[in-house]
């Protein structure tokens, strides 16, 4: 009996030690598969795949903030914009390598999140949501006030040609896909590790009962700021990737609807579950395509064309909340 118990205990410890390695193995495996996939599919699929990866990063930032740390942000598009502008300035003004630009996008947005988080840490619930919402509305307009940000015309975000060793015929979309998916894999792996670490446990404790967490010695305000800063950095990377794909950053790329769309994607994915972010990214890329194809087929009026994407997202959101509140994954789980 004692022997059995000991063996079970050691297995549990072994499993917890093994878990990050297993995660790393799965991410490397995923990367390898995507690399193979990138040589097999057409250029447009690669371009769409890069968008899926970009949105997946954006959704991961929301899941970290809202799902794990319990803070609601309606303005993540603004944080994406911060990252996007930081990246563009790194390329245009400092002439640094695009990869450095994406790292800068992450760091600057993270720093911005840290400062913002410091200011809004005492807010919670609707107040924090309201503050971030105001940010999402105001930030793009603020970009117009500073000539260095290029006003309404914005700035170019050109990652340039792919490295010469890949040859002249190497598709730029494959290059986009590689950059976006590699960035997504690294950052989602990073977020998954955070969620599984002491930080993650603290975040969840804070989310479920802030007072109890505080009684256990958790500095709730500091942890909230930490979560906000990390989430902002991840959102910044997503912003950098997004403008890389459309080769330029301007305020109109980050409308309020983008923030709400990402939040919807996170809810559809399962707010407490990082595993579905790719699905969330797929949904965000697929919905406009489905809407356009439907409008073309049924010959809908202008009002239908305008409203259909929003309607589809809303319908999906309602269905997700009703039937898969914890994400689609639990449908496939065995019932015990």
């Amino acid at each position: 009996m004692l022997k059995h118990s000991k063996s079970k205990h050691s297995k549990k410890i072994h499993s917890s030690i093994d878990s990050p390695r297993k995660r790393l193995f799965l991410f490397i495996l995923g990367g390898w598969l995507l690399l193979i996939l990138s040589n097999q599919v057409g250029e447009f699929s690669l371009y769409q795949g890069a968008f899926v990866a970009t949105y997946a990063v954006g959704i991961a930032s929301i899941i970290l903030l809202t799902g794990y740390s319990g803070q609601l942000s309606l303005g993540h598009g603004a944080l994406m914009a911060v990252g996007a502008y930081a990246g563009a300035l790194t390329i245009n003004s400092l002439q640094w390598h695009p990869v450095v630009a994406l790292i800068m996008a992450t760091l600057v947005a993270g720093l911005f999140g840290l400062l913002l988080g410091g200011a809004v840490a005492r807010f919670s619930g609707p107040y924090l949501a309201g503050t971030t919402l105001a940010l999402a509305i105001a930030l793009p307009s603020l970009a117009n006030q500073f000539p260095i940000l290029g006003g309404e015309q914005g700035l170019a975000f050109d990652v340039g040609a792919s490295p010469a060793r890949f040859g002249d015929d190497f598709s730029p979309y494959k290059w986009f896909f590689w950059i976006a998916t590699l960035a997504a894999l690294i950052i989602i792996w990073f977020v998954a590790n955070i969620a599984a670490s002491r930080f993650g446990r603290t975040f969840r404790a804070m989310r479920d009962n802030p007072i109890a967490a505080q009684l256990c010695g958790v500095n709730v305000a500091r942890q909230k700021v930490t979560a906000f800063a990390i989430s902002s950095g991840v959102a910044g990377l997503s912003g950098g990737l997004l403008v890389m794909l459309i080769t330029g950053v301007s305020p109109s790329v980050f409308p309020l609807s983008l923030s709400l769309l990402l939040l919807s994607g996170a809810v559809v994915t399962g707010l407490y579950n990082l595993k579905g972010v790719i699905l969330g990214g797929l949904v965000l890329v697929a919905i406009p395509e489905i809407a356009e194809s439907l409008v073309t087929r049924i010959g809908g009026s202008e009002n239908v064309a305008n409203s259909l994407p929003g309607f589809l997202v809303s319908a999906l959101l309602i269905l997700a909340v009703m039937f898969t509140p914890n994400g689609p994954e639990h449908i496939f789980k065995r019932k015990h």
Binding site: L33, I36, Q40, V41, G42, G248, S250, S252, E302
Partner: protein, 438 residues
Amino acid sequence: MIRNTRTKRAVIASALITAGAMVLSTIPAQAAETTGVTATTIKLGISSPKSGAAGTAYKKVPGAMKAYFDYINANGGVNGRKITLVSHDDGYNVKRAATQTTKLVLNDQVFAIVGALGTATHRNAYKAANLAKNNVPSLFVNSGFSGFANKALYPTTFAGLPSYPMEAKVMAKFIKDNPVLAPQASFLIAQDDEFGVDGIAGFKEAGHKFSDNPILYPQGGLSSTIAEGALAKLAAAPGKPVLVLFGTTDTTATLLKAAEKLSLTTKFTFLAGSVGADATTLLALGVKATTVDGVITASFFPDAKDATDEYVKQFTAINTKYNKGVPFDNTVLQGMNSAMLTVQALRAAGKNLTRTGLMNAIDTKGSTFASAGLAPLNFSATSRVGYNGYWLGQLNAKGELKPFGGKLTLYTTDSTSGPVTASTFVRKSIPKNGIPNN
């Protein structure tokens, strides 16, 4: 051996995906020069706003082009090939324009892009879709941004309009030469992107000084709040100031409705750019006929309501048959004219159609194409700007555009420091039944 069930599942799923990916074959590469062309078809594509505020004003463009192509197809096509037009909605949004244009090139495999609409949208789309590297022609872009004429940056773009600096220079001359308008204060409300900035540069080039700094509004559209605030401020100026609008028709509508709300319609002389003054759209967007009456605008086309114009007459007939239920207006006229230019370009490129051949044909023969435009076509080995002139007219309550002062005077100029001069240009007659025979 993998003991963990989840890992095992992941590995099996991965193996299946890999196998699936291996089976998937890539689309067979067609020679890039003839992508989208078969022995019997030519596939063209357009990304333009069909939804959103700008969509309200410009959604008719792709339909009008398709109607003209259908008419040509019904009459034998171009060198035996039928034209198909793939149209995607970009909502006048730079991100969607980039993805939709990329989709046209990579997914729909079009031969060329035709009639893309918007400055900022096309600028981003051009780079994102790699039109230069893929050597995809972008014909008759509905933008007057002078930068599109830069062959080094946009080697495959051909503008479908005169440039915005040309328009601004002609407007500046019009104000200067008009004894009633010249002494009045003048203000500018412009779209805050290359569109507006290009216009501002044109006014500067012409030496015109506005009474205050230009009021710039976001590319996404002018809100009624900004419009009302701007009008209330500008109304403090004495006399009857000239208010120049350098934006899209939906923003002109917003501004005119704001003037109605503030009872300022008679306070200003409204001078709208050619892009922003389609009377049918203004009326459809709820601007009162009495407000539209008197708006001055520049144009390089005949008025879409002028049934005596041979091009308008022919295009109206085609519109009635192939674009059922859509009223004929300036937007439809613009779409059909672009389609007609496209057909002539395709014919000029000959039977062995290639992308390079098509672009060379416009460079060498584009200035001789038949066109509804009252200004000369401006294509040459060194110019990619569609037209090079404007005339000034005034809208009446019926939405008709009549030459200002009763006599149509065409002014031609260039995008830089060249003079603005009155022109005696007479356009080519429309080919028989509107079917090009070049």
